[in-house]
Structures are given as C-alpha cells and as structure tokens.
C-alpha cells in the first residue's frame, strides 16, 4: 500500500503474467501507449500454471491490496494445458478466500492474449479501480510488513 500526498489511497497490485500471451499483451499495451496505473507491478512467469497459491498469499501477506493472474486464453496455452489447471486451482483458491471472508474483488484471473494490449490496459484500469474502492487490504495483511 502506498499513500501519496493528496492522501488518496493507492493500492498495490501484483500481476502475474504468463510469458507467452499476457506478458506480451502487457508489452503491446506499452507499445501502443495505452495507459494503466503505476500501481500495477508485473511479475513474469513462464505459464499461468506456474503461479502457486503460496505466491498469491505471500503477496497479500507482504501488503499487496490486489493480485491478478493473467494467462493465455483457454485452448491457447503455449504449453497446451497449463491454463486449464490454473483455472481450476484459482477458482478453488479464490472461492476459499471468499469463504474466509476476504473481499472477492481483490483476486482475479483474466485471459489476455498477446494481441490484446488494449484488453490488458483496460483490465488493469478496471481492476485497480475495483481494489481502490475496497480500500487497503486489512483482512489478509501481515501488519509487521506494512510500509510505514
């Protein structure tokens, strides 16, 4: 979480992007100069199926306010089937977080192809706005790690 001068809440968003589609899609939104907020920080992974639920929880633990996972569209996975596993894993994980009372808008999976620079930017704008509305992540944050 960051608080800037005018005190508007600035969420910290961690985006895991698969190397083949979504990371390339993010690059394309850069190439096309499509803006999205600086709140979003991207971590490159080979495939969305590399993302362990532990990484997502760790991000929340260390102060992320939202975590989004982007991969190739189902059927288009560079590794054939990775995103299908991702889909099941994340559905269950997000459902569990929801069950524990964590705001459901803090987590999201979105399929972004290498051609969808505009979708990437739009998704990030939308997600950042949604998390901004929720305010800082209190329910899952490790207080020791919060930046003062």
């Amino acid at each position: 979480m960051q608080v800037n001068d005018n005190k508007e809440f600035q969420p910290l968003i961690v985006a895991f992007c698969c190397n083949w589609c979504s990371y390339a899609g993010a690059d394309l939104s850069g190439t096309n100069r499509l803006n999205y907020p600086t709140n979003v920080k991207i971590i490159r992974v080979p495939c969305s199926c590399r993302v362990n639920p532990m990484f997502i929880l760790r991000a929340f633990q260390k102060g992320a306010d939202g975590v989004i996972l982007c991969g190739c569209h189902p059927g288009d996975c560079h590794y054939t089937s990775g995103n299908y596993f991702t889909r099941r894993r994340m559905t269950l994980l997000f459902s569990m977080l929801d069950f524990l009372g964590i705001e459901r808008d803090r987590t999201r999976v979105e399929w972004v192809s290498a051609a969808e620079g505009a979708k990437f930017a739009a998704t990030m704008n939308e997600f950042t706005e949604a998390v901004k509305k929720l305010g800082p992540n209190r329910r899952l944050e490790d207080l020791r790690c919060r930046k003062q």
Binding site: P53, M90, T91, L92, L93, L100, R108
Partner: protein
C-alpha cells in the same frame, strides 16, 4: 466386536498371513485410545482395545509400516478405508504389504462432549439403544448417545468399505449426510460475518500441528512448512496472517485428496472446525467439476490434476453466493 477382532488378529498372526497387527490400545484414560502395533497374541490379549472411543484412523501409520518387512494387518472402519485407498492411489503405501480387515462402525463417542455435561472421572461406557450409560469413579451417569457422538460421526458419509481383504460383519452403504450444511450456512453469511467467524476460530490456533500430523493426506516426506527453501517455512505462527496462511495452504494441498475423515477437527486441541475448510473444497469440487469422493477408488484423476475445456471461469466466485 472387540472379541471378534482380537480373535481374527490372533488367527491371522498364527497362520502367518501377517507378522504384525496395527490396532489400538488404552491411553492414560479410558477414553484416549491410541493406535498401537502388536506382534504377538500375548501383546494383543494384554492391550488390544476396540470400543466406542476408538476413533483414530490408522491408515496414515501404514505409510511407514507397509514399507517394512512382512505383511501387516490393519483393522479399518469404513471411513478409514477411503484414506487407505487414497494413499494407495498416491503410491504412499504398499498395498500388497497390508492385510485389511474391514470392521463396522456405528459411530464413535467424543469424551469432550461427555465431560461438557459435567461428567468426569470416566472409566467406561455402555450403549443401550439411544441411552449411554457412563461409569465414572463417582458412580453411574446416563445421557443420550446422540449427544455424546463425535462430530465426524454425526455427519458420517459412508458405512461402506471401499477396500478390504476380509470383512467382519456386513458391509454398509454410502449414506446421505448433511455434512455440507455448515459450509452452506457460512456461504450464506456476509463476507464480513464470514471473516469474523474465521478470525475468531483461526486466532485460537496454537500451531501445534496436530491437524497436519494426524491427517492421512498430509504424508509429505518434508512438509513445505518445515522446509527452509519453500519461502513459507515457519514453526510457530508469529502473527495472525501466518495462521490463515497455514490453514489455507494446508487445505489447498489436500484439496481433491481429502477424504473428509474428520480427523483434523477431532484432534484439534482448540476445537477449531478445520474440517469446514476441507469440506468447502469438496463442496466446490462437487458442484463445479462433478461429484468426486477422494479415496473411493485408486485410479481416478484428482480434480485438481484434471480439467475439461469448458470448466467454469474463476469469476464464478464473484457471481455466486453472498458478497
């Protein structure tokens, strides 16, 4: 029942079918029956117990025991057979080294529930229809059996043995249970209410690891929470988040593998309803990917290691239930 089991054990030891027996013996009190290994008829006669407090699922012990020399005899209640099957499927036990005798179970008692009625000094119980007669050092007490029944047995899902070499008594059926009622009740709460519920429950956790150690699905050679390289290693939680994280990760790691044996909640010294986390996953898996009972067989693909091209999207979590 105890007699039938003991004579079966002695018979199988005597004819050389097995060289060891895993069963139960008394602990410090009449109601803390613990798993034990017997190698001779004498030991069995001296200590073997099977009674209304014999809840413990011995299948996890077979991970180590089945790798030893010779065959071991295991007495398994219906719910325990699911655990063994799941372990067989994951190559964690050597099924060929195990002789399974299926034994019926009409529900086990929870001593804590009896104590909660103010009855102490328990030295034995006797079931008489729906009435439970409790012998204590202070005399005899009675209470309805249903009120003393352990939670895991109250929501029993199956009286059927899914794997056995021999049965004592008749085999039962898979039964309708209300085991998802509480999960559903929580799902129907608001997000804030759920958060408050779990914060209250999970903050009681003392990280004794009993849930993990008893769980027949948690048989990792080296648990991620004990592994300094995993990035999430910790022995004792230093803050509330780590308690959440431990239980989320543990539930996730057994998702699709948990047979819902209920041992985690049974052993929790803080009475945290941990089984609800596992049941939430089971309920989600059943509703999203089709009915699946872990341990029912040894060949099916675990739901998390499987997919279909038209699985639902993760956004379904946003679309259903209470915000």
């Amino acid at each position: 029942m105890q007699e039938a089991i003991i004579s079966k054990a002695k018979q199988l030891l005597a004819d050389g079918t097995v060289n060891r027996v895993i069963g139960w013996k008394k602990g410090e009190f009449a109601y803390d029956i613990t798993p034990a290994i017997f190698e001779s008829a004498e030991e069995i006669d001296a200590e073997f117990v099977y009674d209304d407090f014999t809840s413990a699922n011995v299948s996890k012990y077979l991970v180590k025991e089945s790798k030893k020399e010779g065959k071991i005899l295991a007495f398994l209640k219906p719910c325990d057979t699911y655990s063994l099957n799941q372990l067989t499927k994951e190559h964690r036990v050597n099924r060929d080294n195990i002789y399974v005798v299926g034994i019926p179970s009409d529900g086990k008692l929870d001593a804590e529930k009896i104590k909660a009625k103010g009855i102490t000094g328990i030295i034995g119980v006797e079931r008489n229809g729906d009435t439970l007669k409790i012998n204590t050092i202070y005399g005899e007490e009675t209470m309805p059996v249903s009120e003393a029944m352990s939670n895991k047995c109250l929501s029993c899902k199956s009286k059927k043995h899914v794997t056995y070499d021999e049965l004592i008594g008749e085999d039962g059926e898979v039964i309708e249970s209300d085991r998802f009622d509480m999960v559903e009740k929580l799902e129907n709460m608001t997000s804030q209410e759920r958060y408050d519920f779990w914060k209250n429950e999970l903050s009681k956790c003392i990280r004794c690891n009993a849930c993990r150690n008893v769980c027949p699905a948690c048989t990792c050679e080296n648990c991620v929470f004990d592994n300094p390289d995993s990035g999430i290693q910790n022995k004792a939680a230093s803050d509330s988040f780590e308690e959440n994280m431990f239980h989320i990760i543990r539930a996730f790691h057994v998702a699709g593998r948990c047979t819902d044996c209920g041992e985690c909640s049974r052993v929790c010294p803080q009475n945290i309803p941990l089984h609800l986390l596992n049941r939430k996953f089971i309920k989600d898996i059943n509703s999203l990917y089709g009915e699946y009972q872990a341990g029912e067989d040894t060949t099916s693909r675990a739901p998390l290691n499987d997919y279909t091209q038209d699985d639902c999207e993760a956004s379904i979590v946003h679309e259903r239930g209470v915000e």
